[in-house]
């Protein structure tokens, strides 16, 4: 009990006594944490953005002009029963023509020249993002192609391949860089705290020699490391949040035109706290390590 009070008092007193050194250490730690947390912020948002794009992955089941509504019902039932569809929509021949006219305005002449409607009706299926590129989808497509009344099934494999490939790359890269950065940030925190304590080896040695119990010697250093690490990481998260808000306010038009306005989000509270707690833990561990017997 008295050990804890002592550690807190001495730890804070020592931070204050050596405030320049403490401030320098905290700044360096904050920068390491800032880098780590911005990385987390960027990858998490990039992932969300990409997975938003990839929900565009869909395929169309074209029906023959003679398809009955039972046959169409069977197609829709097959889609619903497969469990891979996020959404499906029936596009009639009339809708298809209207869409063609809208998308190809330069072909007015052509459209006007049409005597009959050459566009087939279709059922458009949007694949759930987590099922994209999976074997289940391939099976469904194969099944649908064989159903009566179905002329053809097409989906843009290329698009799916690109987006899912990009997504998994972002995920893997994010994971790797994230781990490297986490190790790097921890190492920086450790290095800085170790350097900040280097000048005090004599002091630690003396504390051992006057018979101070271990908790008296190590406690203040643990507190000091904890505070420096936690405060540094906290400052980093705060700065990142301010930067995020500022960027948001600044680039609202651009972001909204990119369709990113609703997707971009700050780090969840859980992750942010993890960064702060991580800083504190690494700091405390360093404080513990530097205060071990030195003679």
């Amino acid at each position: 009990m008295s050990g804890i009070r002592f550690a807190l008092r001495e730890g804070f007193a020592s931070i204050w006594r050596r405030r320049t050194s403490s401030a320098l250490a905290m700044t360096a730690i904050a920068l390491a944490a800032l880098v780590l947390s911005s990385l987390l912020l960027v990858t998490s948002n990039l992932e969300r953005l990409l997975s938003g794009w990839s929900t565009a992955a869909e395929f169309s089941v074209y029906l023959v002009d003679t398809a009955t509504s039972d046959q169409r019902g069977a197609v829709e039932a097959a889609v619903d029963g497969s469990g891979v569809a996020a959404r499906r929509e029936y596009v009639s021949k009339v809708d298809a023509l209207a869409r063609f006219k809208r998308d190809n305005a330069e072909l007015e002449a052509l459209a006007a020249a049409l005597q009959s409607n050459p566009f087939p009706a279709s059922v458009e299926v949007q694949v759930q993002s987590e099922k994209q590129g999976s074997a289940e989808v391939e099976v469904l497509v194969a099944v649908l192609a064989k159903l009566p009344g179905v002329a053809d099934v097409r989906y843009d494999r290329e698009w799916i391949r690109r987006v899912t490939g990009g997504l998994s790359m972002v995920r893997r890269l994010g994971l790797i860089i994230g781990l490297v950065m986490m190790a790097a940030a921890a190492l920086t925190v450790a290095a800085v705290i170790r350097l900040a304590f280097d000048a005090r080896r004599e002091e630690i040695r003396l504390m051992y020699l006057v018979g101070a119990p271990y908790r008296f010697i190590r406690g203040p250093f643990i507190v000091e490391g904890l505070v420096l690490g936690g405060l540094g990481a906290g400052v980093a998260v705060l700065v990142l949040w301010l930067g995020f808000r500022a960027a948001f306010a600044w680039w609202t038009p651009t972001l909204s035109s990119l369709g990113a306005l609703e997707v971009l989000r700050f780090l969840p509270v859980y992750t942010a706290s993890l960064v702060v707690v991580g800083g504190a833990v690494v700091g405390a561990a360093c404080g513990f390590a530097v205060s071990r017997r030195t003679s």
């Binding site: 008295s2 002592f6 020592s14 006594r17 050596r18 005090r200 004599e202 002091e203 003396l206 504390m207 051992y208 020699l209 006057v210 018979g211 101070a212 119990p213 271990y214 008296f216 017997r293 003679s295």
Partner: protein, 224 residues
């Protein structure tokens, strides 16, 4: 003086990595409540002997028994406890530069578990006994050499130790002050504390007049 000796050293040797042995096959018994001087030329091994008694270093050979405990068998926590019972004046003072005189002394009192007011009272008391109560709030760098040495002495006395080891405690003091400090040590000794002082000051030894061990090249060459 009778019964089991408080310090029982036998066959003690210390060899450092390079150079000659600092201590050679030293054997010595110190009775409880004794006052002993250790003297000898520079590099004779005085500090080494005191360092080994504080467990600041380990012997290369031989045994040190203090209060019936073989020092080599103590656990880490026991070593710290053992050290709390010792007052040690370091030859190079070893004050904490970032703490004031008062804080340097209070720290030792706090380690012993005193309350804050007890710490202050005790620190003031020992600082007064070495004549430094008026420099309480100065930092070590703001003190003269002799003043720093007296803070180191005050700190060693704070715990009211049962064993006081002082390594050249008067090297930076004028003769009058040195004698005063020795009288202080005698007083403490009269209270039952065993005192061992390493010193070069023959005049001081003569004035105090106690059992004196003369070390040279790591062995005891004379007992007076």
């Amino acid at each position: 003086m009778s019964g089991r000796p408080i310090i029982d050293i036998s066959g003690l040797s210390k060899l450092y990595a390079r150079g000659l042995p600092a201590l050679r096959e030293l054997t010595l018994a110190v009775e409880r409540g004794e006052f002993i001087f250790i003297t000898g030329p520079s590099g004779a091994g005085k500090s080494t002997l005191l360092r080994l008694l504080l467990l600041q270093d380990r012997p290369s050979n031989g045994r040190i028994v203090v209060n019936g405990y073989d020092l080599s068998t103590l656990s880490k926590a026991q070593i710290q406890e053992y050290r709390r019972g010792i007052g040690f004046v370091f030859q190079d003072f070893r004050l904490i530069p970032a703490k004031t005189v008062l804080e340097n002394v209070c720290f030792v009192a706090e380690v012993l578990g005193m309350t804050e007011s007890q710490q202050k009272r005790r620190a003031f008391q020992v600082l007064k006994s070495v004549g430094l109560q008026h420099r309480m709030n100065a930092y070590p760098a703001e003190l003269s050499g002799g003043e720093q040495q007296r803070v180191a002495i005050a700190r060693a006395l704070t715990s009211d130790p049962s064993l006081l080891l002082a390594d050249e405690p008067t090297g930076n003091l004028d003769p009058d002050l040195a004698l005063e400090i020795m009288n202080l040590f005698r007083e403490i000794n009269a209270g039952g504390t065993t005192v061992i002082v390493a010193t070069h000051d023959r005049e001081l030894i003569r004035l105090v007049g106690c059992r004196t061990l003369m070390l040279d090249q790591g062995t005891i060459v004379e007992v007076a």
